[in-house]
């Protein structure tokens, strides 16, 4: 059933969910094919390191597979996956915190090899600051900011995925941005 939907224009969530709940591994394979990039990008934006982002992307899909029967049909599969992924990312960051963040330094320099070294370092530090500021937010602001900007979801999708009213999500986003403002002071005052 879901194969027909897949052949048309992408996978219809309803058919795919039914197949997933029935334990169809091929259906899960389609979900992996469809959403790996978006989950990876969200993880990369939160974690900063491509290697960690790949690890957590994989962990997120495995966690989703184990919990597929608990998926609520209210939101989209993509939103559900991205929510799992952002949580896994923040958990990874909390584990990583005590260790020196040497990996991120390497990643930053690798990305900006074409730029001048000083500019590359400044750019890396700015990115680290943004990541650190977002990850230091309290919940639920952190989750809403991450889903909105790092997972590239609309506020309506965030509301649907988290099961919160849209106005509540807007309030959370506004408060999250207000809390981020001091950390972004140098940039936003320009």
């Amino acid at each position: 059933m879901w194969q027909a939907a897949w052949d048309d224009e992408g996978v219809d969530d309803g058919a795919l969910i039914a197949a997933l709940r029935a334990g169809d591994r091929d259906a899960f394979g389609l979900l992996v094919e469809r959403e790996t990039s978006s989950v990876y990008r969200a993880c990369l934006r939160i974690l900063g390191r491509p290697h960690d982002a790949e690890d957590v992307t994989q962990e997120s899909f495995i966690a989703a597979y184990r919990a597929i029967r608990t998926f609520r049909s209210e939101g989209s599969l993509r939103g559900w996956l991205l929510r799992i992924a952002t949580r896994q990312c923040f958990r990874r960051l909390e584990q990583r915190r005590p260790a020196a963040d040497l990996g991120a330094i390497g990643d930053g320099l690798l990305v900006d090899t074409s730029a001048e070294p000083a500019r590359a370092v400044v750019a890396r530090e700015a990115r680290d600051d943004i990541r650190a500021a977002v990850s230091a937010l309290d919940e639920p602001y952190r989750e809403v900011v991450a889903l909105r900007f790092f997972a590239d979801m609309s506020l309506a999708e965030v509301a649907e995925t988290t099961g919160r009213p849209l106005n509540t999500v807007k309030t959370h986003l506004r408060r999250g941005l207000e809390r981020l403002r001091p950390a972004f002071g140098a940039e936003v005052d320009r």
Binding site: V32, R127, K170, F184
Partner: protein, 183 residues
């Protein structure tokens, strides 16, 4: 590049400072839009293949199905669960009561079973033993009177440990000299 670009009207209020924070976040996200390694999906699929078939516990399935309901259907389901829980609790209570009554009626064991406690309890038991049975209990220790309340009345329960500020506690009488003191 972004599927959902941030708009100033998104927060339902005009706040240029917050808009700039949002734009910074968007700009950051745009710089981190790399694609995963080509084989990442295959690796994930291989990891999934190694996973056992996901089985939901009955409670998870049940609550997941509840969460899927909306409005009146959800209320009815929750009410049904509550009623079932109450009926179950009542039935259990009834069963327990019956079992207790059966036990009382069936075994009128008149012999009180006195389990000799090996540990010397510091509080003298206030319950008088009904049968001063002369049968010698094979306890190694004599019935323990190790508590400092040597002259305590049998019917009175006292706290065994005197407070530090209380010099006239049980076994006291000697000022600051503790029990066994006086040297």
């Amino acid at each position: 590049m972004t599927r959902h670009p941030y708009g100033p009207d998104e927060l339902d209020r005009v706040d240029p400072a917050l808009d700039r924070v949002a734009e910074e976040l968007e700009r950051y996200a745009a710089t981190r839009s790399g694609e995963p390694a080509l084989d990442l999906a295959a690796r994930i699929q291989a990891a999934i293949d190694d996973e056992p078939h996901p089985r939901a516990g009955w409670w998870r399935s049940f609550f997941a199905s509840l969460r899927g309901l909306r409005g009146p259907a959800r209320a009815v389901a929750v009410a049904a669960v509550a009623v079932a829980a109450i009926v179950g609790a009542l039935a259990l209570g009834d069963l327990a009561e019956r079992a207790r009554q059966n036990n009382v009626g069936a075994s009128p064991s008149a012999t009180p079973i006195s389990t000799p406690t090996a540990s010397p309890s510091p509080t003298p038991s206030a319950t008088p033993s009904p049968s001063p049975s002369p049968t010698a209990t094979p306890s190694d220790e004599p019935t323990v009177r190790a508590s400092p309340t040597a002259s305590a009345d049998d019917g009175e329960v006292e706290t065994p440990e005197p407070s530090e500020s209380d010099n006239s506690g049980p076994g006291g009488g000697g000022g600051n000299s503790g029990p066994g003191g006086g040297g």
